[in-house]
């Protein structure tokens, strides 16, 4: 009898703790740049220690992250394509979008700099030069935040790189790191976010050629998924995570993340 009761309560305990553990975990749909740079490995243990909430990160391109979130396969969206994010919120999928942090994009290229763009600070002028000379350029080509930014920069140059797709314009259709590997392998210029570049381990003779243009600004935003559209979301934990990220504590933690002595992300959430 006693044994049976003990057994039953042990089973009940297992189920209860499994259920509790389930409640205390959320899925963040996010970008390869934030994950590949190691930011989450730095932030999540701090958040988990404080709240006990386990955060599971799915790192894909911004376009895919938004689509996954629109399928309700996540609790929080953390990406970098403001226009698409605002559409997502307007469509009712996101509760509210908040600016979280920023860094910038850079154009990296081989040491011999075939297009002669080293030291330029005008991204469009640099792309124009690359296009006119037909120097190799590796694009993400995957509808990610970085890809959307790159396409918007080309649009103002009057060059349609899609015409040269497969020639000097190479669309890899892959994540940031994979595109860097491919670009470096073929000697092509690549536009990348600075965080991924700094923490990237296979730079070979590549260096930053173009930086410092206002147009290369890279803003990240955080959006808890709306429980009205997606009843399955753990909205309380999702909101706790979003609130923590934009709180002083979260913002300080973002600012404190450094690789190779450089700060990768600059917090800029509005004061609440």
């Amino acid at each position: 009898m006693i044994r049976r009761t003990v057994g039953a309560s042990a089973i009940a305990l297992v189920f209860a703790s499994a259920a509790a553990a389930q409640d205390q975990s959320i899925i963040v749909q996010s970008t390869t740049s934030t994950a590949n740079s190691g930011l989450y490995d730095h932030l999540l243990p701090l958040f988990q220690d404080k709240t006990g909430i386990q955060v599971n990160v799915v790192a894909v391109g911004t376009g895919q992250a938004i689509r996954n979130a629109a399928n309700c396969d996540g609790d929080v969206l953390l990406v970098h394509a403001k226009a698409s994010e605002e559409e997502f919120v307007a469509a009712g999928f996101g509760a509210e979008r908040t600016d979280l942090m920023y860094n910038d994009f850079v154009i990296v290229g081989p040491a011999d700099d075939p297009a002669g763009i080293r030291g330029m600070s005008d991204a469009q002028a640099a792309l124009t030069k690359i296009g006119q000379q037909g120097a190799l350029f590796a694009s993400r080509g995957d509808d990610s935040g970085t890809h959307k930014k790159e396409v918007s920069l080309w649009a103002d140059t009057g060059i349609d790189p899609a015409d040269a797709s497969g020639e000097w314009y190479r669309e890899t259709g892959s994540g940031m790191g994979a595109t860097l590997n491919a670009g470096i392998g073929m000697g092509a210029y690549v536009m990348t976010d600075r965080a991924t570049w700094i923490s990237f381990g296979n730079k070979q003779d590549y260096a930053i050629q173009v930086e410092g243009d206002e147009d290369l600004f890279n803003q990240y935003g955080v959006i808890p998924i709306s429980p009205e559209k997606c009843p399955s979301v753990n909205s309380e934990a999702a909101q706790t995570f979003a609130d923590w990220l934009v709180s002083d504590e979260g913002q300080d933690a973002i600012a404190a993340y450094r690789v190779a002595d450089q700060q990768l992300f600059f917090p800029n959430a509005p004061d609440s």
Partner: protein
């Protein structure tokens, strides 16, 4: 440059082997967790795929019916299912907005097992069909004289071919443990939850840490080798005992 390029590459391959050894010897808990999940997912998928694929393979092997050739062609063609397509199909079903979304299985090891099972069940079915059909050609007359039912014949064939079928299972396991396309879509490569060897290799490659990626590849090969060696030992021991 002093060293020709290929020597540098060779150097990094050597470095990867050293790193792999170091990783294994250090007993790094993260690595062990990833290895354990890889084994758990792919071995479970192999077991389920055998439960589904072997009876199908056996039934097709002993049956004669109209359109059998078409069935054989389809079975053989399904061996070439692209992992990414399987991943997408499973994703669409398990997504919260999909028909099975209410189960909450997306981004869990269960989802990965489902995807790999779909990927390798056709391999098990098609290969076992071939093995059993050859055996059946030998046994058919005996089965007829014993008036065995179809179910009894299937059971007898599966039992007598069990050692050859181990190789079929290993072929399925090899495909499952090596694929990345399906598990990365339905598992999401989440650290400490759904990260397996292949998705970890893909991640380290995209971080540009090629030496670590290659080292993980060496570890994966070693795992595959150990599983095959274990099955081979089992088979040798069993056949030896059978003749004692």
């Amino acid at each position: 440059m002093f060293f020709p390029e290929h020597l540098e590459n060779l150097h990094s391959i050597g470095e990867a082997f050293a790193l792999a050894l170091q990783l294994v010897l250090s007993g790094d808990p993260d690595l062990l967790e990833i290895v354990a999940l890889s084994l758990r997912v792919s071995l479970t998928a192999t077991a389920v795929a055998c439960l589904i694929g072997l009876p199908i393979g056996a039934l097709v092997a002993i049956s004669r019916f109209r359109g059998r050739t078409i069935v054989l062609v389809v079975m053989n063609a399904l061996m070439g299912l692209p992992p990414v397509v399987v991943g997408l199909l499973v994703y669409l079903h398990l997504s919260r907005s999909g028909p099975l979304g209410f189960l909450g299985l997306l981004y869990t090891p269960t989802a990965m097992i489902i995807a790999q099972t779909i990927l390798i069940a056709p391999i098990v079915a098609a290969l076992s069909r071939q093995v059993l059909e050859d055996l059946h050609a030998e046994y058919a007359e005996q089965f007829r004289s014993l008036c065995l039912t179809r179910g009894q014949a299937v059971a007898a064939l599966l039992w007598d071919a069990r050692y050859s079928l181990l190789t079929v299972g290993l072929a399925g396991f090899g495909r499952a443990v090596a694929e990345v396309g399906a598990v990365i879509i339905v598992g999401g490569n989440i650290d400490h939850l759904t990260r397996v060897m292949t998705t970890a290799i893909a991640l380290e490659t995209s971080k540009g840490d090629l030496a670590l990626a290659l080292a993980l590849g060496v570890v994966l090969l070693a795992i595959s080798l150990s599983v095959n060696a274990a099955v081979q030992t089992l088979r040798l021991t069993a056949t030896r005992q059978a003749y004692v």
